[in-house]
């Protein structure tokens, strides 16, 4: 009798601990982001208030209005940054996907000497820290005259994304039985047709999630972009965030609004592919 009561208590305690732990963890994960969103709607006076205002008295769209109107403090050309970010991220993602499909297919379908060495070699290029790379890249791009152009940043991002894209696509391709392509070849396809008509459609969702990964990386990148862009012609949003800072002050409200603008597309895309994304990472890595 005693025993069952204590066992029941222990169970109850474990359950409570589980709930509390989860609640705390989820709060830590969610609150910083939500706080940013909240502050993007609050007037600067309230953000800066001392003692703090916990329950917002007033929510408005002033920061967004200022941001899109280009009339905010310092007149940050947010829409231009948004456009730059879009052009650069989408173009570099598409190119990285094409290059990555070739590479991923090669690793998944062919056996050749030094395969794992080449694979790790490609991965290692991704590990080169952006700061360390941006110095020499800056020198070369300056020589070529492609500093502060979309082209220069796109080129850099393609290179940055290709290794990881190859890794993911390799993983997805491996899950597709080789016999599928063989069956297609026997059915009268060339190897090229077998890829486009059979393997590609089957791997489509995986390739899409590799693409979204590449997009997010480009969309969020700062270290390279901050060196390779100089003006509104090529500045991306992460670089643009710095426009809200001046020597001594930070326009927190405006910055929060821009942050929300940055997060939204990322949020939507990630939700769309989260399932494939996890599958891609694990299968690519574990079964690869």
């Amino acid at each position: 009798m005693m025993q069952s009561v204590s066992a029941q208590n222990r169970k109850r305690i474990a359950k409570t601990a589980h709930f509390v732990g989860l609640f705390i963890a989820m709060s830590i994960i969610c609150i910083p982001g939500l706080w940013i969103v909240l502050n993007s709607f609050r007037p600067t006076v309230e953000i800066m208030a001392k003692p703090p205002v916990w329950i917002p008295n007033e929510l408005n769209l002033d920061h967004y209005r200022a941001m899109f109107g280009g009339a905010g403090e310092g007149g940050v050309p947010v829409l231009t940054y948004f456009r730059n970010s879009m052009i650069i991220s989408i173009t570099s993602t598409v190119i990285a996907l094409l290059v990555g499909m070739g590479g991923g297919y090669a690793f998944a379908r062919y056996h050749f000497k030094g395969k794992s060495a080449i694979f790790v070699g490609l991965m290692v290029t991704r590990a080169v820290p952006g700061v360390a790379l941006s110095l020499p890249l800056f020198i070369i791009f300056a020589r070529l005259g492609i500093i502060d152009t979309h082209f220069g940043i796109i080129l850099a991002y393609v290179a940055m994304n290709v290794p990881f894209t190859i890794w993911l696509i390799d993983g997805f391709m491996r899950q597709i039985p080789k016999e599928l392509a063989e069956a297609a070849e026997i059915d009268g396809c060339t190897r090229w047709q077998a890829f486009w008509r059979v393997e590609f459609p089957v791997a489509r969702s995986g390739i899409a999630s590799a693409g979204i990964f590449a997009f997010l990386t480009s969309w969020n990148e700062y270290a390279l972009a901050s060196q390779l862009s100089r003006s509104t012609t090529s500045k991306t949003m992460p670089v643009g965030l710095l426009d809200f800072t001046s020597e001594f002050t930070l326009n927190w409200g405006g910055m929060c609004a821009l942050a929300v603008l940055m997060i939204l597309p990322a949020l939507v895309l990630t939700f769309l592919v989260q399932k494939h994304l996890i599958a891609g990472l694990t299968f690519g890595g574990v079964k690869g």
Binding site: L22, P32, G100, G103, P136, L137, A223
Partner: protein
């Protein structure tokens, strides 16, 4: 005469190899060369003056460099291990949830979407001694009425940085480990139960070994990306106050762009590159070994 024909795998890999050579390899060669010169951005002719290993000797004899180097290793070790542990804990907690698990998993991915630079600003804001969320909360709850100088005090700043770094990256571990937990075959777990293992024992001897490859994937992914911390640190403290949070990367950035000593910066950059490559290869090796042990594919 038979024309030389490239094997198809090479044709497929060639674009990747060309792009990576052009954008990564060539700059690295250039930076290797310039690290043997006293190259300064402001004086282009200095690129042609060979000074041998002077920059490396200078770096190795520089206490500022060693302080940053040690701090970087320390930060990586602490952050990666804590992220792994927290990720494991979070994954275990989420895996036990029966209702609303999908929503939790989605929420877990939240920090992954944040640009590192945004994370930097976000936590700079949150840890701000005047209007930051943390101090506001502490003061309103009456725990303290001082403005705790989170980002000004050296130790606290380090803590704040590690916190921000963990916030962004723990979810990578949690999500992969969670995927691993779902993929564990039930048979060995049941066998362990029949063999008389306690829950802790079966976790230790069955679940954990099976999770190792997943942990190594997460480590490998993270090791490709460790320098993300640069963005965060640069925004939050920029190595300050008084270099007390200086990491290799911020030191390189400052030396190269602010002091314009490209040659010297590249020499230090090379050291950081080797550090990154070492981490990457180490984890890829571990991953392969763990995979082979569990017999998962070749």
């Amino acid at each position: 005469m038979k024309r030389f024909k490239m094997p198809p795998w090479l044709v497929l890999l060639l674009p990747a190899i060309i792009i990576l050579s052009a954008v990564v390899l060539i700059p690295l060669v250039l930076s290797l060369y310039s690290s043997f010169t006293p190259y300064k951005l402001t004086r282009p002719e200095s690129l042609y003056k060979w000074i041998g290993t002077f920059n490396y000797e200078k770096a190795l004899g520089d206490t500022k460099f060693w302080a940053a180097f040690g701090r970087t290793i320390l930060l990586l070790t602490i952050a990666l291990n804590l992220e792994m542990l927290c990720g494991l804990g979070l994954a275990l907690m989420v895996s036990k949830v029966t209702r609303g698990q999908r929503a939790l998993r989605t929420a877990m991915m939240f920090p992954m979407m944040f640009s590192p630079i945004l994370v930097g600003f976000q936590f700079k804001f949150i840890f701000n001694d005047n209007v930051g969320l943390v101090n506001n909360a502490l003061q309103s709850l009456g725990i303290t009425d001082m403005a705790i100088p989170w980002l000004v005090d050296g130790k606290l700043a380090m803590f704040a940085i590690i916190f921000a770094e963990m916030w962004t990256s723990t979810s990578v571990f949690a999500i992969l480990i969670l995927a691993g937990l779902f993929a564990i075959p039930q048979d060995p777990l049941e066998a362990a139960k029949v063999d008389g293992c306690t829950p802790i024992q079966s976790f230790r001897f069955v679940t954990l070994p099976f999770l190792m490859p997943f942990i190594y994937i997460a480590m490998a992914i993270r090791s490709l990306d460790v320098a993300r911390a640069y963005d965060i640190v640069q925004i939050m403290t920029n190595g300050g106050p008084a270099r007390r949070t200086e990491l290799l990367w911020t030191l390189i950035g400052r030396t190269g762009y602010v002091d314009a000593k490209m040659g010297y910066a590249n020499a230090m950059g090379y050291i950081s590159i080797f550090l990154a490559i070492f981490f990457t290869i180490y984890f890829f090796r571990k991953l392969t070994a763990a995979r082979a042990e569990l017999g998962m594919g070749v």
